[in-house]
Symmetry: C2
Subunit: 451 residues, 2 copies
């Protein structure tokens, strides 16, 4: 008869590692660098420090690649290292504020891939207080927990982390993408210095372009429009004695005393009802009306960290030296109750490939997205714009850099390369691209008049 | 300080449900139908029975949709229902043979989505032996286990299963896609009858086109070229006393006594060495050489179930009435040691949209893929062909139906809509499309001569 069983999350991602960007050696080489650099940048920003990140790639005999990423971030506490690196769905980024990481999966995928292709443990050298530690560890894939081969004390020059993995890779095919990735990362994080060494030769050393550190995004309460029955159930847990009014004000952002009273009146309920006395039907109704009630103000933008006009333009100028460039932004807006901002820079110059429409460079939460462009909603929005209406192309190659930032990025897959189709993001994309187009058209007309 | 924690796999897919195709109400409506129909078809084929599957969609007040799918499959055992429907990463399809399902996730996503948007339990009426059961259940999302609201005995007309969920949906937007999905499913499963009822009106009743049931795919041993250190470690577990030679012959397909001896000699090892006495370095080397050693025969095709020339052509003819049509296939081939077959039908006629290249209809393991076309490796292969060389277009619209089947489909995301980039699949796609193009060119020339 049929054999029913369950698998662990690490087993799931071992079997389906192409979903996380580890389906072939070239992409695995890229994804390993990306996952490690993302973590380093998140940590430096948590530390409130200007990031200095060194990526080292070393080819060995056969097609193995040793990838090492060093940062000056917060480091990790000694007792958190095994789970952070050797367990899938374990991390520190499950809250509601803008971060690059989101799943608690990324670095463990690199560890897993290195282990299954080269039988090598990951090596972590980290310092978060006044003691440094080196770990060599593996992951028990069937059971989703770490296997520590060794851990010992070792001094490190400052707090921060160095992660080293050995994988079956394809450096010739991945090298130029990794270079692009770091250059584009430099545009999105102008306050960072990024160094790339390949076989002991420094091939890239970019940034910082600015001394100014972006303000840290604040942890936010959920917005009413992100509500579903599960969120309402969880936010009600442990608040059985509260009044419905106090529950709403305490659990959601953009809900003050006046708004809460109006909302409760709209529902036809008594604001003094205790949460614990509400029926299942009433709770279900509260959840669906929270989602659709349109008198709540838009979610706060202070859990976001946009690149900003000045920094974005400076980065594009420094790396692409365009003849023309302009910036536009949309937001804070929201998708499903999560705040987002969309920023864009349109630029023309010889550095861009020729094409019927501008070449699109995408960013999500300050991370360049280099794969899976065609199904990204921003790419689809770009293709819907009638670029000829804005005089594009006009004999000059154009590029558009678009940066999406949100407390939650709706990625299409666990490899975090492409944004899913959501109406609010699609219309914001269209609006932004048209604004950038109008700016370009003005410039083209101005140039013609001056000739 | 930072707060480290873990999340369950159901929590992961709750937070990231767009990755599984449940990111917006229209796609969730489609995905719910797809996940349920896939399960029904898998079960009917396990039963060795011609599938009869009835899909019923009912709009209710507000935008809720009640989706019910009924089949004549194997049913589920009483004690397996809660975990199968109320736990993520639990199922019966983790083996190595061609099936539609693969993750143990799909139906639980529909349950989860229905629960969070409408607070409704899933209703399952199933019979696998001589007793029928009805369950109403929810999923505990934080802890990934089922919550059975009620289960009771209820007679069912025959073995099989009926699953009913109520979701926040968008039937107007999803209806035509669901219709396309069922028609295309009928092409891929010509031995099935598929019925669609929307608000009590039968809008589709297709198939069967043939009485012949496809042979059931056989469970296969892994092929050596699918080896990695994890697979070798697991297949060695419990075989410590075996000789290396007997271990290889017993654990992998395409390894007989002669091949095993040659392989061991190639490694420079003694074939009588006990598995338990091998060093870690030796095991790691065995794993990497298993992958690269090219003298193992190709994997068996008997774990596959291709549509077949006659059935595929018949389905396309019945539904599209083309003026010209021809079939080609490639394989059994392999990707990463997993066997696959690629079949295609090229057809021309008024039923197809006009375009610079043929319109592509994709199938994976007999399931139509209607979303995420642009990043699919088969779509990318199609675009690389110089269709003008084959006289396409020539004033006539063309369509290509391409069916990929394998013991493992490398999906790009958990929504199973798009195939990842793997070199062997890309080249097989190119070869297949060119073969179809040559067939079309021949036909076009023949037609011109006859005029
Ligand atoms: N270089 C680093 N410095 C400090 N902490 C780190 C570093 N790398 C990883 N971590 C910690 O390990 C955790 C797990 O990392 P991992 O990349 O697996 O998940 P994540 O970054 O939270 O999410 P994602 O899967 O989206 O990358 C992180 O949440 C972070 O707390
Ligand atoms: N209609 C059905 N008839 C018989 N068994 C079913 C049916 N629906 C679900 N099942 C059982 O429940 C299990 C879980 O279903 P689920 O769709 O979650 O996973 P899956 O089909 O194994 O994989 P996938 O996530 O790729 O769909 C299946 O493996 C199957 O054993
Ligand atoms: Mg990470
Ligand atoms: Mg399924």
């Amino acid at each position: 008869h049929l054999d029913f069983s369950s698998i662990s999350p690490s087993e799931f991602f071992y079997r389906n590692r192409q979903m996380a960007g580890f389906g072939n050696p070239a992409q695995a080489t890229y994804s390993t660098v990306r996952e490690l650099v993302e973590n380093s940048l998140d940590s430096c920003e948590d530390a409130g420090r200007a990031p200095v990140i060194a990526v080292s790639l070393e080819t060995t005999a056969s097609s193995q690649v040793v990838i090492s990423v060093e940062d000056n971030g917060l480091g990790l506490p000694y007792d958190e290292v095994p789970s952070a690196f050797g367990q899938v769905l374990y991390g520190s980024k499950y809250g509601l504020r803008q971060k690059r990481g989101t799943f608690g999966l990324g670095v463990t995928m690199a560890v897993l891939y290195g282990q299954i292709t080269t039988d090598s443990p990951v090596i972590i050298h980290t310092q978060s207080d006044n003691r440094g530690w080196v770990y060599r560890l593996y992951i028990d894939i069937e059971n989703n927990h770490p296997l520590v081969e060794e851990s010992s004390e070792r001094i490190r020059s400052e707090t921060g982390t160095t992660v080293t993995v050995r994988i079956e890779g394809d450096l010739p095919r991945a090298a130029s993408r990794i270079d692009d990735y770091l250059r584009l990362t430099s545009i999105a994080t102008p306050h960072a210095r990024l160094v790339l060494r390949i076989d002991d030769e420094t091939t890239l050393d970019v940034g910082p372009w600015t001394e100014i550190l972006p303000p840290q995004p604040m942890e936010a309460k959920p917005h009413p429009r992100s509500a579903d029955t599960e969120l309402v159930r969880r936010t009600m847990a442990g608040k059985q004695a509260l009044s419905l009014k106090d529950y709403l004000i305490g659990s959601f952002q953009q809900v003050g005393r006046k708004t809460a009273s109006e909302f409760i009146r709209f529902l036809g309920l008594d604001s003094k009802r205790r949460v614990g006395d509400l029926s299942r039907t009433e709770i279900s109704r509260i959840s669906s009306v929270l989602k659709s009630y349109d008198s709540f103000s838009r979610p706060d933008g202070n859990s976001l960290s946009p690149i900003g006009r000045e920094a974005f333009l400076k980065g594009v100028q420094s790396l692409y030296e365009p003849e023309y460039f302009s910036y536009a932004s949309r937001g804070p807006l929201e998708w499903d109750g999560y705040p987002f901002i969309l920023e864009g820079v349109i630029a023309s110059g010889a550095a861009f490939p020729k094409g019927e429409e501008p070449t699109l460079f995408r960013f999500a939460n300050r991370v360049p997205l280099l794969y899976d462009a065609s199904d990204d909603i921003l790419t689809k929005s770009l293709k819907r714009v009638s670029w000829s209406r804005y005089g594009i192309p006009n004999g000059v190659p154009w590029g558009i850099f678009v940066s999406f930032c949100s407390t939650k990025v709706p990625y299409q897959a666990a490899g975090k390369q492409s944004i899913a189709t959501l109406d609010e993001i699609e219309s914001a994309g269209l609006a932004l691209f048209r604004a950038l187009g109008r700016g370009a058209l003005k410039q083209t007309k101005r140039q013609k008049r001056s000739k």
